[in-house]
């Protein structure tokens, strides 16, 4: 029998969500006659609340019970129409309608660059007026890359710039700081003093910062490791984290870059840290031992695991912060927090995927993941327990919708062996055939699975059918969107009933 103490002790973290959801918007070409907005779970079952609109002719401005004031519901208003039918190919952020489908729209934080969306399907676009002054445009790249426990996305927003961490109300806003802290006095080496990337691991309460001589092209780097006895996500003041440091170390190195705002820092549970960065048309990834108390020294050479690895899939013309701040290299992670992804588009400002996926227990385990689309893309999201999906917005008239979906083994953290990747099919009978999988580390032994060599291997994701229609009976190209809150894990509104009896 459960006692009061065990019930209290087993209380689920209030931040923990059910398995990932995504929004799905479809419409007729002019969005006047028909538009649908639905929210689906990772099994593509609908969980949203129905809403509708009341017009069957040209709506000069906007409609819908959501009453949104932006172009999603408008015709001829401020920033154009026809999100669904726009074909993102080479356009940037100021091509407002197609850029909704950019890979750059979303990351581990629970909002899009352009919008926010509730799990019931209430979507609202933010104003594009003064968009170039917004948080995501200006300083989205300063957000901390967080490695978090199962089912948890960042619920506090910390931005690290120069030598000050500032906390903001989470979202794409400029509504004032909650607090700030200048940590200069805690830095053991202050030669390079512009913070260009920061990662935090909640399990080990470790903050790893990358500082350079400037925020643009300086190659001089100082990497500082702060371990604390308190958790940054639990403290009331940032100062508390630094007041309770248990170890501080640093090392310096020279890292080639064409824009320092593209660095991504991923702090693994084992103390190894992955650094990713877009450079030209590709991304590079390097892993460094950031454990403290091991006399590892103060040079990068003394701490680096293997060598810098260039992305191993196909690359072509693609852009990043060299073109504008909001095209910063992204970080996301699976729902269970066991695998992460540093990624950019394959093509121009938002189509396809050039990614490194790394194990978050051990970032030395990583592979390239590739999708070489050049049009009709969509963003990518956490999907299922240990996977990602997205990337497809072809016309669903007369054909079922698909996603690029793939998943990993959450226990697969040994970097000396190959990585197993599981993917979907267009035919469920092929995915679950009348033959056995054998659990050998060979692709031929796995149905719809591959094994990929660590570091130098690449996995190209096939499409799998969601068996959804796009929301309109004729031509339509659905948009996939990030949901703010996937529902309380274990609560009545979450969408995952697996792991029965656990909290």
């Amino acid at each position: 029998m459960a006692t009061i103490s065990t019930l209290v002790l087993s209380k689920t973290d209030s931040r923990k969500e059910g398995l990932p959801l995504y929004g799905f918007m479809g419409s007729s070409g002019d969005q006047n006659e028909h538009m649908s907005f639905r929210v689906f779970d990772s099994g593509h079952k609908v969980v949203g609340t129905p809403w509708g609109q009341g017009t069957h002719s040209t709506a000069s401005y906007r409609f819908g019970i959501c009453g949104d004031g932006m172009h999603a519901y408008s015709h001829g208003a401020d920033f154009g129409t026809d999100i669904n039918h726009s074909d993102l190919t080479t356009q940037g952020y100021d091509s407002w309608t197609p850029y909704n489908k950019s890979t750059y729209q979303t990351d581990q934080y629970p909002w899009g660059q352009y919008y926010t969306l509730s799990r019931t399907g209430y979507v609202t676009w933010q104003s594009y007026h003064q968009y170039t002054e917004s948080l995501e445009f200006q300083i989205g790249w300063t957000k901390l890359n967080m490695v978090l426990p199962e089912g948890i996305r960042p619920r506090r927003l910390f931005c690290n710039r120069r030598q000050t961490i500032r906390e903001m109300n989470p979202g794409n806003n400029a509504s004032g700081q909650i607090q700030y802290y200048n940590y200069t006095s805690h830095m053991p080496f202050v030669t390079n003093d512009y913070a260009v990337s920061t990662g935090y691991n909640e399990k080990t309460q470790t903050l790893v910062m990358l500082h350079s001589a400037n925020e643009t092209t300086s190659t001089a780097m100082t990497i500082t490791i702060f371990k604390s006895s308190v958790c940054l996500n639990k403290v009331k003041t940032i100062k508390e984290f630094f007041d309770n440091l248990t170890a501080t170390e640093y090392f310096t190195d020279t890292w080639t870059t064409d824009n320092n705002k593209d660095w991504v820092t991923v702090v693994g549970n084992n103390g190894y840290v992955g650094f990713g960065q877009k450079y030209g048309n590709t991304i590079n990834y390097g892993v460094f031992n950031c454990n403290t108390g091991q006399s590892l020294g103060i040079t990068g050479a003394a701490r680096q695991f293997s060598t810098w690895q260039a992305f191993q899939g196909s690359t072509t013309t693609s852009y990043s912060t060299n073109q504008n701040n909001l095209y910063y290299t992204k970080f996301n992670h699976t729902w269970d927090g066991t695998w992460g992804m540093i990624y950019t588009p394959y093509y121009y400002y938002g189509v396809g995927l050039n990614a490194f996926c790394m194990n978050l227990e051990n970032p030395r385990k990583f592979i390239s993941v590739s999708v070489t689309r050049t049009s009709r893309g969509n963003p990518y999201f956490a999907w299922g327990r240990t996977g990602f999906h997205g990337g497809w917005s072809e016309n669903t008239d007369s054909i079922s919708h698909r996603t690029y979906a793939w998943s990993f083994d959450p226990t697969d953290s040994d970097h000396t062996t190959t990585t197993k990747v599981l993917y979907g099919e267009t035919n469920a009978g092929t995915l679950v055939p009348a033959s056995n999988d054998t659990n050998l580390a060979a692709a031929s032994s796995i149905t719809s699975g591959s094994v990929v060599t660590n570091a130098t291997g690449v996995f190209s994701v096939p499409t799998s059918r969601t068996f959804l229609h796009g929301g309109y009976y004729s031509t339509n190209y659905p948009l996939m969107m990030q949901v703010n809150w996937w529902g309380n894990y274990g609560g009545g509104d979450h969408s995952y009933t697996g792991l029965y009896g656990s909290s």
């Binding site: 074909d87 070489t372 049009s375 692709a443 591959s450 060599t453 291997g457 690449v458 190209s460």
Partner: protein, 112 residues
């Protein structure tokens, strides 16, 4: 000419790197094809039946010209889709008009 690797699931380009590409070939996930030089990867696709490479826009076009062609091709597809959509809408509207006419005839028949 240079060897590049293409996915067997859809003929799309995978990589030009030998180690990564050859691993995929060994697992049946890719095929290797000799490709013309100086063509951007996004323009390359494999014909999985003939194991030949297809160059979007043809090898004689440069990237800018190929993008222009793609824009035109995309517009043509969009136009065809719109025409189909408009046709369906017209059929529905005609059906609605016919229904209303039939309803009016019925209402005027004195049986209502």
């Amino acid at each position: 000419m240079a060897i590049k690797y293409f996915n067997t699931h859809d003929g799309s380009i995978l990589t030009d790197k030998t180690d990564a590409g050859q691993e995929a070939v060994n697992q049946g996930r890719a095929i290797a094809i000799n490709c013309p030089d100086n063509i951007e990867d996004w323009r390359l696709k494999a014909n999985l039946t003939t194991s030949q490479v297809i160059v979007y826009g043809g090898v004689e076009k440069n990237e800018a010209q190929a993008q222009l062609q793609r824009t035109a091709d995309s517009a043509a597809v969009a136009l065809a889709n719109k025409e189909k959509s408009d046709l369906l809408l017209a059929i529905m509207e005609k059906a609605e008009e016919d229904r209303k006419a039939l309803q009016a005839t019925y209402n005027n028949s004195g049986d209502a």
